[in-house]
Symmetry: D2
Subunit: 314 residues, 4 copies
C-alpha cells in the first residue's frame, strides 16, 4: 500500500506545542526513579518533545536538548542491531510474547527454562547484549555508538560513567537474571553481557537525538537521511511489533489503547514512539507513574497522536 | 492524517487467490479441536478467506461460505457492544493488559483479586457477557444478533444448538472462572454470564459474514454500508488495541511480527483481522496449531498482509 | 518401641489450667472470621481446652462445652474415613505434599492438572468428600456422624443449618475449585462433593467432644474406649503425617517449631492436635490471626506442649 | 514426659541388617546425580546404613564407611550452629514454612521479596551461610569443621576440593539466588555466602560419621558423648521441625507418611534422620529418584522405622 501523506510542518509544530502544554499540565505527578543516585538527580519539571519525519523535518519543543540516559529505550536499537547480524536465530534464545509480569521478573524465566519472554524485558535485553559483536563490553558499546551515529546523522551517545558505575554496583537483580539464564545455557558469558548491558543503559541521548535515532524504524529499516540500511523491512516490522506488544512494561495494553503506537519507555523518563511510514517521536520527562512510565511524557504523546490521528488503530 | 489509499479490486482478488494457495499448502498440519464433538466434526481440509473493504468491495475465496461457530472470535464484537453501553467503567472490572498466560488460565485471576487481565481471555469475556443488556441469556443473545445484523448488512448469526449445549455441559473450567470472579465481586451472576457466554460462543458465521461484520472496526466504529454507529472512534481504537496485544492467545507477539494486524482467533479455526481505515479480513480453517490458532488461516493471512503491505508496522 | 508413659491426671490438670491462663492472656488479639454471619457471631472471649488420653482420662477447662462448627477441623476425620474405605488409591487423585500456598489457592491446581496438593486444603478435602459413601450428601453426612459417634463414645455432631446454608450460598471459591478439578477429571460430581463439603464443615462439636473424637488418631487408629478400629495403623500414620506437614494452613512450619504436634486448625477457631500413643487435645477460641489460626488456642497449645514436653521433636 | 525406652542392641542390629537387605533390593533403580563430574563418579551399588543411639551404641552395616559429600545434608547442622549464635533473629531473613516448590526455585523468592521460605532450601541455606562466623569462607568452614568434630567424637569432615571447585564453577543458579536476595537486602555479601556454601556442600562424611554427627539433634541439642551443648532444646526442636516439614525437597509429605521422622536428604545420596530422644540414622546410596532422594536409602529407612516402630506418628 501507499504510505499515508505526512502532516504539514505547521500542523506538526502546532500539535507539538499543544502536546507540550498537555504534558506540562501533568508535571508534579509521579516521581523520579531513585534506585541509583544519578537518576534521582533528574529535574522532575523537565519535559521535552521531539519529532523527526521521514521527509526530513525535525521539530523539538520544551526541554528537548536535556541529556538523559537511554536505559530501556536503548533496547529496541540494540535489538535492531542484533537482529540484522544474527537474524531469526536470536529467537531460539528469546521469545516474542508479552510476559504479563514486571519487566524484571524472574518467575516466567524459571517456568520457561531460562528463555526470556521477549527481548525488551531485562532478561531478554541481556541475551541481546550477549550477541552484540566485539570481544569486550567496551568494543561492543563503541560499535553500538557507531551504529547509532550512522543512522542518526552523526549524533553522539556517550556513556554516562557515574550512571554506568552505579548501575553496575547495584545491579544484583540483573546479575541474578544473567546467572539464571547461564544455568540453562541461554546466556554464555554472564559478565560480558552484564557489563555491556550496564554501559548500554547509561548511553546518553536527548529527546531530539532519540527521535532522530528512531527514524529508521519508521522507514522500513532505512535511515532516510543517509540511506544507511539498518535492517531488513521484515526485521524492522519485528522490532516494531515487539515494541507494540511489549514496549511499555506492564502498561503495554493501556498505552496501546491510549496512544496506539509501537513505543519503548525507560526508567529515566524517556519514551520513544514510531509511526510506521511517517515519523518518530521522543518524549522526555523524568517523573514516573507507579508502572515506571513517564507521566508527562505519556500525556504529551497521547495528545500528539490524538491531535494528528497517528494511532495505528485508526 | 489521511487514510491510506485502498488496493484495487484486482490487486485484492489476486492477493486473496495467492493467499488461499499459500494457506492450502499448510492443510494437513495441525488438528481440529476435539474437546466437544461438534468441533471435532469440522473438515480439516476447509479453508476460506474473505475480505470486506470500507469502500464496499467484498472478496471471498475458497470455503468462504462454510458455517462455523464464532467461539472466541465473538469476543471483540461483544466487547464493542458493551463498551458502547457501559463505557470505560468496564475497565474497573477487567484490565487491558496481555496476560502472558494461556487464554483460560486462572493463575493471574488469583494473584489479581479476581480481575481478569483483559476482555479477550475467557474470564474477561465472561465479565463482558455480564454487562450485555437483557434479563435473560436468550434476550442478550437476541440483542447481540440484532447488533451484528445491523452493522453487517443484515447477515444472520444463529446459535448452533448442539455446540451450545455441548459447551454448556462440559464447560467446567469456565464455570470455575466465573465462580472465582464471583467470589471477588467481579462478576455478579455466574449462571447468567455463563449461559450467555456458551450461547455467544456457539453463534455461527462464515468467513464472508465475519469479514463483513468486522468492517465497522476498520472504519472507526461506523458500518460504512448502513452508516450505523457501533461505538465511538476512541472505543473502537480500544477494541483494536486489545486485539493487537491480546487477540491471539499466547501467540499475540508472534502474530504481530508475522501479520502485524489487530486480530482475534477462535478454537473453531476462525481468525478475524482488521486493517484500520481500510478493510477487514476473515480466514477459516479448522486445523489448529499447538497454541490453538488456525494453521492454514494464519498462513493465508500472513501471505495476504505481506503481499498487500497491510501490516500496521510498515 | 514402647509407648511413652502418660502424664498423671494431676499433671495434666495443672498443665491445662496454666495453658488456659496462657491462652487467656491472648484474648483480645486477632478477630473472628466474618465471611459468613454465623461465624461472625462467635464470642471472641471464649477459650476452651480439652484433653483425652488413651487410658481414658478426660480433662476439660474453660469454655470446653461451647459448640462451634468443625469447618476444616473435620478434614482429618473425613480423610481417615475415606482412607479406610478407598485406601491408597485416594492418592491418585490428591497428593501428600505441603502446597506452600494459601489453603484455598487455585494456582497449583492449574500447574498440576487439577490434582490438589494434599487432602487438607480445600480442593483436596472436596476430593475426599467425593469418596464418602452414600448416594446423597445427606446420606454421606449421616454416615460420617455415625462414624464420629462410634469412635467417640456416642457424642453427636449435628449440622448447624444456618452455617451450612450460609456457606453454601457464598461458597463461590470452593465451587470454582470443584469445577476446576472436574475439568481435569479429578472430581466426578461437583454438586455432590460441594453439598457434602458445606454440610461437613457445618458439623458442630465442642472442645470436649473434639478431643475425644481425635483419640483414635493418638491410638494407632483404634478408639481406646470402644475398641472400634477406624483405620489401619499405617493409614493412621498417614493422616498424622499430613496433619503435621499440611494441617495449619501456611503456618504449618511455625506451628511445628512452636507446638510440634500433628494438628488441624479451623476458621471457627478450633485446633485439634494429637500426641501419638498418648493423648489428643482440642482448643477452641474464635479470634484468628492473619493466617486464619486461633490466637488464644495456639497459645494455649504451645504452653501445654511445652509444660508437658509433648512435642514429637523432643 | 519420659523418653521412650531404647531398643536393645540386638534389635537394632537385626533391624539394620534387614533394612540393608530391603534397601539393596532397590539397587538398580534411579540414577546418580550427574550435574557435576564428581557426583557422577559415585558407585550406584553402594548402600550404607548407620545408627547412633543416645546411650552410646553404634551400628553400621553395608557401605557405612564410604565417604560422600554432605551436600544438602550439611544444611541442618549449619542451621543448628547459626541458630545457636544468632537466635530467632535469623527468622527475620528466612521463613519456617514449606515452599511447595523445588529446592532451588526462585519463584517464591520473587513473590516474597527475597526472603526464602525456609533454611533448608538453597536460598535459605545461603542466608544461613551468611551468618556463620568468620571473615572468610575458609574461616567459616574451619569453624564448622571444629563444631562438627566437637559434637561427634572428633570425626573429620574434610572439604573435597574437586567437588567444591566443580560446584563453584557451575553454580549459576545459586549465584542467581544469592544476587536476587542481595537485591532485597536479605543477603549482605553474595560472594562470601556462595563461597562458604560451595565448600560446605563439599564437606565429606560417611554414613557412620553422619549418624554420629546427628546424635545431638536426637538428644535435645546436647552431644551425649562429650556433653557439648550445641544449641538450646527449643532451637533443637526448631531444627527438627524444619527437617520434618521441609527436609525432603518436594517429597517431604510422602517421606512423612512413609518414614515419619525429621530428616534431610542430599543430592549425593545421603539421608540423615532423627528419632527424638532416642537415636540418629544415616543412610547413603547415591542413586536418586526423580525428586532427588536416594532410592535405596529411603527404602532402608522406611524398613528400619517400620521394624522398630520409630515413626513419630505412632
Amino acid at each position: 500500500m501507499q504510505p499515508r501523506p505526512l502532516p504539514s510542518h505547521d500542523a506538526l509544530r502546532h500539535a507539538a506545542d499543544t502536546a507540550l502544554a498537555a504534558g506540562r499540565s501533568k508535571l508534579g505527578e509521579g516521581g523520579v526513579a531513585t534506585y541509583i543516585p544519578e537518576l534521582a538527580k533528574a529535574d522532575p519539571r523537565h519535559l521535552g518533545l521531539a519529532i523527526a519525519t521521514v521527509d526530513g523535518q525535525q521539530i523539538a519543543v520544551g526541554d528537548a536538548d536535556v541529556p538523559f540516559t537511554l536505559q530501556s529505550a536503548s533496547k529496541p536499537f540494540a535489538l535492531a542491531r542484533v537482529l540484522d547480524i544474527v537474524g531469526d536465530a536470536l529467537f531460539e534464545k528469546v521469545g516474542v510474547e508479552p510476559s504479563g509480569d514486571a519487566f524484571n521478573s524472574i518467575v516466567k524465566l524459571e517456568q520457561e527454562q531460562g528463555r526470556p519472554r521477549n527481548p525488551l524485558i531485562n532478561a531478554g535485553a541481556l541475551v541481546v547484549c550477549g550477541y552484540l559483536p566485539g570481544p569486550t563490553a567496551g568494543d561492543r558499546i563503541a560499535g553500538l555508538q557507531r551504529f547509532f551515529a550512522d543512522v542518526s546523522g552523526g549524533a553522539e551517545y556517550p556513556v554516562h560513567e557515574p550512571t554506568w558505575r552505579s548501575e553496575e554496583a547495584t545491579g544484583y537483580r540483573n546479575r541474578a537474571l544473567a546467572n539464571f539464564m547461564r544455568q540453562y545455557g541461554v546466556l554464555g558469558e554472564t559478565e560480558l553481557a552484564l557489563d555491556t548491558y550496564f554501559r548500554q543503559s547509561a548511553m546518553q541521548a536527548t529527546a531530539r537525538t532519540l527521535a532522530r535515532l528512531a527514524l529508521f524504524l519508521a522507514h522500513r529499516g532505512v535511515d532516510p537521511g543517509s540511506g544507511t540500511v539498518a535492517l531488513t523491512p521484515q526485521h524492522n516490522r519485528t522490532v516494531l511489533a515487539l515494541m507494540a506488544t511489549c514496549g511499555l512494561y506492564d502498561e503495554a495494553g493501556r498505552f496501546a489503547t491510549r496512544v496506539g503506537l509501537p513505543a519503548k519507555s525507560a526508567v529515566s523518563g524517556a519514551i520513544v514512539a514510531v509511526v510506521p511510514g511517517t515519523l518518530a517521536i521522543a518524549a522526555y520527562s523524568p517523573a514516573l507513574n507507579a508502572r515506571g512510565n513517564s507521566v508527562a511524557g505519556a500525556a504529551a504523546l497521547a495528545h500528539l497522536t490524538e491531535a494528528l490521528g497517528l494511532s495505528v488503530f485508526g
